[in-house]
């Protein structure tokens, strides 16, 4: 029986994020029945899409024991580059999407080069990169929103199929692909190995530098994708994405069980973290909590989730300092 108890306790702790989502949804639905409606579910999933892709971006770097804080700056930068190409050179929207993503990849490559080859500290290097990019965008646009009118570019962010928005499809496709890559590809396993023990991964014949460069490049790629999705959804480049977005993009993977020290974390957990944060935000809006308190309650919920995670780690490593 003890084995069963331990297994069920582990199951509960591993899935605490989903339990919190259910508890919060029931509470919010009790206070405002609209929260549990189909329309709001659509709303939550649409809101979760951009954040979710950013969460994946950060997670790729967390898995190797590093962090990418430039994802929001990269999102704004790459979407500006794509929008600029359309406005100034009139490129086809498909090419513009490609340009947006390539811009993101280039930023990621640069970050990866800094961290993997020049051995710069990722926390500071990507923080600086994010500041640089966001500042560059603000300077270049003079903080004016760049409107994107191309219907092809904004299709995915606005189209519906039989009453359901298309946007969340991108979220699920991204998570499915990420799951396949991280759980089943040799490259994905080498990221986990590198994050778990870099010296051992190296000694086992894994090209650790290339794996680390790859993680940041993937992060840049996903930030570019997020840039495209966000611009497509808004119908323009918002040059002032809030700094809270970055904090949520870092908090969500950790809430979902991704270790800040590398080597541990499941894609399903990253999705759970994203959805929990989105559910809290939209739920509090629907029950008419003031925007300032939303931030406060959001902070408290994240603290709670991390406390539960720490409890899980303590119960696994009992006796170790």
């Amino acid at each position: 029986m003890k084995v069963f108890e331990m297994a069920s306790k582990k199951f509960l702790l591993d899935n605490v994020v989903w339990i919190l989502i259910v508890i919060f949804s029931v509470l919010a639905g009790f206070l405002n029945p609209f929260f549990l409606s189909e329309g709001n579910l659509q709303n939550v999933l649409v809101q979760a899409t951009t954040l979710g892709v950013l969460v994946l971006a950060v997670s790729f770097t967390l898995l190797i024991g590093e962090i990418d804080l430039s994802v929001v700056g990269n999102l704004v930068f790459s979407s500006m580059v794509g929008a600029y190409a359309m406005q100034q050179f009139g490129v086809h929207w498909m090419l513009a999407v490609l340009i947006t993503i390539v811009a993101g990849v280039l930023v990621g490559l640069l970050n990866g080069y800094f961290v993997a080859y020049l051995r710069m500290n990722s926390l500071i290097a990507t923080l600086a990169m994010g500041l640089f990019l966001q500042g560059a965008v603000l300077g270049a646009t003079q903080a004016r929103t760049m409107v994107v009118t191309d219907e092809g570019y904004s299709y995915i962010g606005s189209a519906t199929i039989g009453n359901w928005p298309v946007m969340p499809l991108a979220l699920f496709v991204a998570y499915l692909l990420a799951h396949i890559v991280l759980a089943y590809s040799a490259w994905g396993r080498s990221l986990y190995a590198t994050g778990g023990n870099r010296r051992a991964a190296n000694a086992a014949g894994i090209n650790v530098k290339r794996a680390r460069l790859g993680a940041f490049t993937a992060s840049g790629f996903l930030a570019g994708v997020a840039g495209f999705l966000y611009t497509s959804y808004l119908g323009g480049v918002s040059v002032t994405v809030g700094s809270t977005t970055l904090l949520y993009a870092v908090a969500a993977p950790v809430i979902g069980g991704v270790s800040l020290f590398g080597g541990r974390g499941r894609v399903i957990g990253m999705l759970g973290g994203t959805l929990l944060i989105t559910v809290i935000q939209t739920g509090l809006q629907l029950i008419n909590v003031s925007a300032y308190y939303i931030q406060m309650i959001g902070g408290a919920m994240i603290l709670l989730a991390i406390a539960v995670d720490a409890f899980r780690i303590r119960s696994e490593e009992r006796g170790v300092v």
Binding site: I180, Y184, S185, A186, W187, R189, S190, Y192, A193, G195, G196, N197, R199, A200, A201, N202, A203, A204, G205, I206, N207, S259, G263, R264
Partner: protein
């Protein structure tokens, strides 16, 4: 007292318990089904240096960890100055004057010598560290224990021998009544060894007692007034050291009739040719290794053998020279390239450099060499098949392949690591302490696995601190000095004594 067959007990009268600092009575310790200590008793007289002897895996480290309070005992009793400390934790035993100094003396390299000596009780004034008093106090302690160095110097700048002195002074200054020294002279040159030993002997005049663990029988006969020999977790001999001849001592340690396997030594056609290899810390090295031959490398720490291995394994850069593997030039530069060239390095640092603790046993076995499907996906079926094969072939004791690697014993972890390398079908296997932290049974199995690999034509370079392990396995011994091969031992020249001698002489 539990006494095994073929033992010598010269002093039959029980030691007087009033003049004993430490009395260990019938201590049992089990790791899983294996009894590592099977009713061990010993007693250390006040002011004595008590030699604790035995082969690797005999239970010396386990016993010293139990005495110090790092491990819990499964049966028996430990009396320190007449008080039962069996249930007390490490810190409480330390307060009562019992200190264990392990092979890796714990010093804080970036702190000063004075801080190292006085931590955690630095002298304070107004709640802040009183540096003047600290240095005064530290200088006085160092001086009075015959180590006149400036306490303001960085502790990391001390040599290996002085680091050990520092750790010992720290314990003595804390009014230790018993200090356990685990291989304090490992890796030291002969002259430094002698100095350290004489110095330790001088400390007993202040009433401090020592338990002295060593592979060097001569050291023990020279230094110790009494001794205990462990073999397979049992006491096989004990008494006054002076009463025992060198031969008799060697006999009780090894056990006369232990069935051990012996390699058949034959001529080996050349397979690996190393020419002019230069690397950080050594070279140029020229060495030809035969097919299926095991060549032992002997030398002091930092004298080259380990660096040679790490350079061949791709973990240190190669500055010049070439390596031919079966006539083909090997590319060295990263572990991946070395592995692709047929050269595999088994690390001495299993936890730090071998295994990924967050991954499963199966993943660790397949790490960096995943069976593929569709070219880029990892084949789960392929991984599990290799796991089954390795488990059968190497007798890996485990629950399931999906459990975390940290849950396995050291010996089984080592087999997983070795299995990962053998899966690469290497032509040259570099074994850096292949049985470090492994129990006796697993050690025997690993030796057989190494021998089996050589029968299939794999050449081996071996580095082992234990001269006995070396003597048992190797066909030839290369003695390093200052980064180069200075001497070769062949055939009958390969004796335990010759290897032990070569390791410490410069």
């Amino acid at each position: 007292m539990n006494v095994a067959e073929g033992t010598i007990v010269p002093d039959s009268h029980a030691p007087d318990s009033t003049d004993a600092v430490l009395t260990v009575d019938s201590v049992f310790k089990r790791f899983g089904p294996l009894a590592v200590l099977d009713g061990v008793s010993l007693s250390v007289s006040r002011g004595a240096i008590h030699g604790l002897l035995g082969k690797n895996g005999a239970g010396k480290s386990t016993l010293s960890n139990i005495i110090a309070g790092l491990l819990r005992l499964d049966g028996g009793i430990i009396l320190l100055n007449g008080e039962d400390v069996s249930a007390l934790p490490l810190t409480a035993r330390k307060k009562r004057g019992l200190h264990l100094l392990s092979q890796h003396s714990e010093i804080f390299e970036d702190l000063s010598i004075g801080e190292n000596l006085l931590l955690p009780d630095l002298p304070r004034r107004f709640g802040l560290t009183d540096w003047a008093a600290l240095h005064r106090l530290a200088a006085r302690q160092l001086e009075s224990h015959g180590m006149p160095v400036d306490p303001r110097r960085r502790a990391g700048d001390l040599g290996a021998s002085d680091r050990r002195r520092l750790a010992i002074i720290k314990a003595v200054a804390a009014e230790a009544s018993l200090i356990i020294l685990d291989e304090p002279t490992a890796g030291l040159a002969a002259a430094e060894r002698m100095h350290l030993l004489e110095w330790v002997a001088s400390l007993t005049q202040r009433g401090t007692s020592f338990i002295y663990i060593s592979h060097h029988n001569d050291e023990v006969r020279q230094l110790c007034s009494e001794y205990t020999v462990l073999r397979d977790g049992k006491v096989t001999a004990s008494g006054k050291a002076a009463a025992l001849s060198a031969d008799a001592m060697a006999r009780v340690i090894t056990g006369a009739d232990v069935a051990e396997f012996h390699r058949s030594r034959e001529d080996h056609p050349a397979a690996i040719e190393i020419s002019g290899l230069t690397f950080p810390g050594g070279g140029p090295v020229d060495l030809t290794i035969g097919r299926g031959e095991i060549v032992g490398l002997v030398g002091l720490l930092g004298e080259g053998p380990q660096e040679l291995m790490r350079a061949l394994g791709g973990l240190l850069p190669v500055e010049a020279g070439a390596v031919l593997v079966d006539g083909r030039a090997a590319r060295l530069g990263s572990p991946g390239q070395s592995l692709d060239s047929g050269i595999a390095y088994l690390t001495h640092d299993r936890i730090g450099e071998g295994l990924v603790g967050s991954m499963s046993v199966t993943e660790n076995l397949n790490l960096g060499n995943w069976p593929r499907s569709l070219g880029w996906l990892v084949s789960g079926a392929g991984m599990n098949r290799r796991m089954r094969e390795a488990r059968g072939a190497m007798d890996i004791v485990m629950g399931s392949g999906s459990q975390e690697i940290g849950e396995l014993s050291g010996g089984n972890q080592q087999k997983v690591l070795l299995g990962r390398l053998l899966e690469r079908k290497p032509r040259l296997l570099l074994l850096d302490e292949p049985t470090v932290g492994v129990d006796v049974a697993a050690k025997e199995q690993i030796h057989r696995l190494i021998d089996d690999a050589t029968k299939k034509g794999v050449s081996v370079l071996l580095l082992a601190q234990d001269p006995e392990e070396m003597q048992r396995l190797v066909d030839r011994v290369m003695i390093f000095s200052k980064g180069r091969i200075a001497r070769t031992l062949r055939g009958a020249e390969i004796t335990i004594d010759a290897i032990a001698e070569a390791r410490t002489a410069r």
